[in-house]
Amino acid sequence: MSTSLLDAYKKMQLIRITEQEIANFYLANKVMSFVHFYVGQEAVATGVCAALASGDKVMGNHRSHGHYLAKGGDLKRMVCELLGKAHGSSKGKGGSMHMIDKSVNFVGSTPILGSVVPLACGAAFEQKYNKKNDLTVSFVGDGASEEGVVYETINLAALFKLPYLIVVENNLYSVNSKIKDRRSEGYNVEKIVTGLGAQYMKADGNDLEDVLAKATAAVAKIRAGGGPMVLECITYRHMAHSAPLFDDAQGYREEDPLEKRLERDPIKRLKQTLLTAGTSEEQLAKIEKETRDTVLAAIAFAKDAPFPAKETLYTDVYAK
């Protein structure tokens, strides 16, 4: 295992507290910028990224704050991007749905759902073409995984035996649409994936240790030349699809009422494990406080940071 549980806990708290404080800031300052929160799903990004080497690439989707931070993306630049500032990771042109930090091989996120799956497959194609020992991971949701291009890409990746891991974060909803309204009774993800010639694994996405163990096994197989894999992680999205709010009042949730989501909260769960293993309450409280201080400092920095110059509206249409 390439990381300790305590490191994973720190990372999950960083993702959670960043989004909590961003939500507070948005509500207090009427920031009207599209945002999809990852709260509740932190174990997936943290567990998968902990299983990777630094040369491995990661790509994400519209809900990628967690993927970006888990891969080591710069916090200040991320917050600046959310607030549309010049120091942002995309200089204010991308926003929340376009996370990127190439210095840590988080090579982009794109919100047209399944579209990231072939793009990341291309990154894996390049790794094999140039005989590298690295692999690529893409994160998508259960809704995105229903798009045809995902099935096309699994076949392509298997055909070319590419070093590629697709992580499907199944949080039960596509926006507010339930799985049972979207899939036939016989729909079977494992059979689809293996039928296309890739390997399939499933993890409890609310359990960091399970995600880490499965991702570590998947990465080892892929790096050994085993071809592409799909790791499906079952998890919960605690907040609304695209707002800094809880949305239980909308009444669409049947399987995962708030009490159930909070009971299975991955951070709460890992905290219990750490306490049982002998980590002290004080130590964990200290981590939480330090993390919150770091996040608040980043938000304060971003709040005061300059906006991009007006003329940059016209720049970077083409690569220099």
């Binding site: 690439k57 942002g88 990771s89 995309s90 200089k91 204010g92 042109k93 991308g94 376009h98 990127i100 090579v107 982009g108 794109t110 047209i112 579209s115 799956v117 072939p118 793009l119 990341a120 497959c121 291309g122 990154a123 194609f125 390049e126 790794q127 073409y129 045809g148 291009v149 096309e152 890409t153 076949n155 392509l156 055909l159 070319f160 720049t315 970077d316 249409v317 083409y318 690569a319 220099k320």
Partner: protein, 335 residues
Amino acid sequence: MMAADPSVFVIGLGVSYKNGADGTTAGLKAKYPDRIFDVPVSEAGFTGMAVGAAISGLRPVIHHGRIEFALLASDSIFTQAAKWNYMFGGDNPVPAVFRIAIGRAWGNGPQHTLSTYSMFGNVPGLKVVIPSTPYMAKGLLVSALRDRSPVVFLETRYSYGMKQHVPEELYAEPLDKAKVFRTGKSVTVVAYGDGFVGALQACELLNASGNGTDVADIDLIDLVSINPVDHETITRSVQKTGHLLCIDTTIDSFSVGSEIIAKVAQNGAIRLKKAPVSLACPNVACPTSTALTEGYYPTKVDIANAILALQGKPAIKYDLSFDDFHTHAAFVIQG
């Protein structure tokens, strides 16, 4: 270019066999067995994968045998490749080349002859060229394979039969400049792709007709790029001639000519002697029957007579043969 740059690879349906890709990739698989990729019939998947490879630093040449199939991959072209560098604030090149066969082809009917050129001009971030001659096809492809932005190469299938001497060595033609093919003084003709072939044939017709109009009257501009459109070159020409004829092989609504004429109309420095003329296809899909397609594309006679009308000269009469109407342009450009 494949010899010069190991990052170049070719991907698309049928590119690994002799008559695949209209024969344009014949022999490459034997020469570069690990760099020519035939693929499943998964346009969105393989195009997206190739764009991802370009984002990662490779140089894919992505082939689509008909525009209709490329549209199955429109997310990868329009939404991903085109915007990648801009939306990530620069320093994110996508050096992909999309070779897309487009437009007129004998008997191909409504769903194999779409000619949506304008759509590609409407997406910032793409560089879009239409090679009109064999010489330009090579020079533009060399430039495309040296560029760091996604380049869409719209190849009019009708022009595949053209012949022209092309130098052996590598040479590059700029991707964003129209080319003044012939210099004249009284009419500006702007054309691209198979419409440019039509313009060349119209010039021959006028030369042979003995009615006083010859190529010395015509400023013939090969548009080359529709993203961006080189309005400067067109403006210079129209300021000189005062007459403008645009030839399209797409439908009249939102045609390339409409865009050019709109910009000319907005330019107060241009004084036209007559209303500009746009020749284009009717606002219907291209049908299959030869009896109907005869009325679809502007012919060399239509073009010649439009040039004459702008000069206030009488029209010529010429009976078009079946081959004139329907066969690939086996046109030979001298010199």
